[in-house]
Amino acid sequence: VISESAAGAVTAAPAAARARHRAKRRATWRRRGTVLLFLSPWIVGFSVFFGYPLVMSAYLSFTSYDLISSPRWVGLGNYRYLFGEDPEIWNAVRNTLWLVAVLVPLQVLFAFGVATMLARARTGVGFFRTVFYLPALVPPVAATLGFVYILNPATGPVNTILDKLGIEGPLWFNDPAWSKPSLTLLGIWGIGNTMVIFLAAILDVPRHLAESAELDGAGPFRRMRWVTLPTISPVILFSVVIGVIAAMQYFTQAFVAAAVAAGQASQAGSVSTLEQGYPEGSTQFYPILLYYNGFRFFQMGYASAMAMLMLVVALSLTLLIISQSRRWVHYQGAAR
């Protein structure tokens, strides 16, 4: 015989368990709600400014879309034209690869070199750090205008000085052989951000390692090779990856330099007189060609296909660099 109170306890136990469960679930959802609330700015920003454009670009790359009328499905037509017929694409690819192969290593080397010198400086440290960092604060358009002015072959101070020394200066931005090296000079000049990261990494190299190496008879070069470089190798990897991605998106400096060096303006009432990639297509980089196709020639479907290809190539290059980095990047405290 079960007493009344015992029977009540038996029926109350599951109810209490259910109530506890409900309370727990409510708490869980509240927690999730709080998490979502804090995450929502990122979720909205990511979705609107990255997810949505990415999905739309992928879709548009299979369409013919002129920005005004509705996109028309063309299947792989844009990709066939991209790989097989576009007469300008390979020049743009070559120019962009040139930046990846020349500009990026030089920027990394120069930033590392300056950072090494600044790390050893004994006097005027703050002054020199500021001086070398300052160019990074100059807006890209202003910096480019300045360089085009300084390197103007007819009136610029560089060629004027060279002229006085009896040297005929190059045509810089006006010569297809010199336009990319001129942009490289501009790129090297503005390495302030990379330089600061290198400087922080170099200053963070454990002093005892360098001292031990010195006691073992290692000279400055060997200390650099076997102590400093392995220690800062994650920073080198970071700089290379960021540099490669930036080189593949290189736009503003080349676009402005080409327009200003050519001395051209939009022709009133008609087409622009601007020669794409002045001089002679030497500054026609992939993103610039993409821009022309999308916004000047109203081929946004094709421009989207170009953008998707750029995404794939940038991603592949990044993955390749990261996979190769296992051989030369050393993380402090990491198990080998």
Binding site: S40, Y52, D175, P279, F297
Partner: protein, 445 residues
């Protein structure tokens, strides 16, 4: 389990955000704000134009007259509008009632897609005679029979020469043939002690100031496309005549020397312009240079004429282009917009007033003879070029100016001496242009 559920929630939130983004992107524009200002009951007409600063003020004067006479509308002008903004607005639906563009080469884009309304019903309703516009302006304001725009003032290209330098060189009057132009250029060119160029007689480099394929084409009368709509640069021998003449003069200077001189020639739209400073003896340019010279170098002794031509060209003709104006398909007040467009493009007084203000060529035959026009011998040359029946413009295509850009890229290599086979090179350019046109689904009319 919790991680999975959280991931699902996050995914759902992201999906919701995507949907919201999509909805936001495809939503229709909100209704226009009610008109403010003096005319409380008037319809507000928004007009987008490319002019800015001084030129915008002149346009506002013309519009103000219209505004005063028409109490039923209140016209608001927005300046500094370029084609990027126009296309973006057409896509988003947030557009003006009347739009004008400097890039007449894009009329194929605006007309083909029906982004600007067909003006034919309005023209027929008001019995507007299209023949009052010269043929070339009629051409660049429609695409394949779809008239979506009208010309609002025009640009005519002609020849400027420095009279003082001519006198010093013993030359009388402007050259009329390309051969004479070459001889004059050589005579007028002065070099510095180190052999670099000081004063250049004439610079035929494509890309220099207003030197383009379009502006040079009338000098030889070459054809861009054949009867089937295929690119004809390699087929029409006149292109080779033009390019060989151009290259021979560049070679006489030396390409590198000319590039170096060009780098210091001065900004095109400033007082440092090479022709205005006497560093360039002869120049091809639009009629607007008259106003620039008057404002920046009134002391300059110069004359104007039609451009010299080859045997195949027709002296007196020149390159024509200009501003186009139309009504966007998504505009709210089409009838009122049409009345304003009609006034701006066909009223002689409005055109003459605006022409006096910004010194562009009035775009109708009657306004080009208007007594209201400020008399100016140098400017009058351009109104003659404008009304010359042989004057022409660039072909309108569905790709805007993409075909000219392809040609121009080739010419950059040609003029620097990197093309050995001109005929073969032009044939290849034809193939590239044809491929582009095929993709765009529309070549020239």
């Amino acid at each position: 389990m919790r991680r999975v559920t959280t991931a699902v929630v996050l995914f759902a939130a992201a999906a919701l955000a995507l949907v919201l983004a999509g909805v936001a992107a495809s939503s229709k524009p909100s209704a226009k704000a009610p008109a403010g200002g003096a005319k409380a009951s008037a319809t507000t007409l928004t007009v987008w134009v490319g002019w800015s600063a001084r030129e915008l003020k002149e346009f506002n004067k013309v519009v103000a007259e219209y505004d005063k006479k028409n109490t039923d509308v209140d016209v608001k002008v927005v300046g500094s509008i370029n084609d990027d903004k126009i296309v973006a607005s057409l896509r988003a639906g947030q557009t003006a009632d009347v739009i004008s563009s400097f890039t007449s080469g894009n009329v194929g884009v605006f007309c083909k897609r029906g982004a600007w309304v067909d003006l034919k019903p309005y023209l027929e309703q008001d019995k507007v005679d299209l023949n009052q516009f010269p043929a070339s302006t009629r051409y660049y304001t429609e695409y394949k029979g779809y008239r979506c725009a009208l010309p609002l003032l025009a640009d005519a290209y002609g020849f400027y020469y420095n009279k003082k330098l001519f006198r010093a060189a013993g030359l009388k009057g402007p050259p009329k043939t390309l051969q004479q132009l070459t001889a004059y250029a050589k005579k007028l060119t002065k070099k510095k002690a180190n052999g670099s160029l000081d004063v250049v007689g004439f610079n035929p480099t494509f890309g220099f100031y207003q030197n383009t394929v379009g502006t040079y084409q009338p000098l030889v009368g070459a054809k861009y496309f054949d009867g089937e709509g295929k690119s004809a640069l390699g087929k029409d021998a006149k292109w080779q005549t033009l390019l060989k003449w151009q290259k021979s003069l560049i070679d006489w200077y030396g390409h590198a020397k000319l590039v170096k001189w060009q780098a210091g020639a001065g900004d095109e739209f400033s007082a440092s312009h090479a022709f205005e400073r006497g560093k360039l003896a002869m120049l091809m340019d639009g009629e607007w240079r008259v106003a620039f010279i008057a404002a920046e170098h009134p002391e300059l002794q110069y004359g104007t004429a039609a451009m010299p031509v080859a045997g195949t060209g027709k002296y007196g003709a020149g390159y024509i282009n200009g501003t186009i104006i139309g009504i966007p398909e998504r505009g709210k007040n089409r009838d009122e917009a049409w009345k304003l467009v009609k006034y701006l493009t066909t009223n002689d007084h409005a055109l003459a007033t605006f022409s006096n203000g910004i010194r562009n060529v009035p775009s109708t035959r009657t306004s080009a003879r208007s007594k209201e026009l400020k008399p100016d011998k140098n400017f009058a040359v351009f109104t003659k070029i404008f009304t010359n029946p042989n004057s022409g413009t660039i072909p309108i295509t569905a790709l805007g100016a993409a075909h000219l850009d392809t040609f121009q890229s080739f010419l950059a290599k040609w003029q620097s001496g990197k093309v050995s086979d001109l005929a073969g090179g032009l044939k290849k350019v034809d193939e590239q242009i044809d491929a582009k046109m095929k993709r765009a689904g529309g070549g020239p009319p």
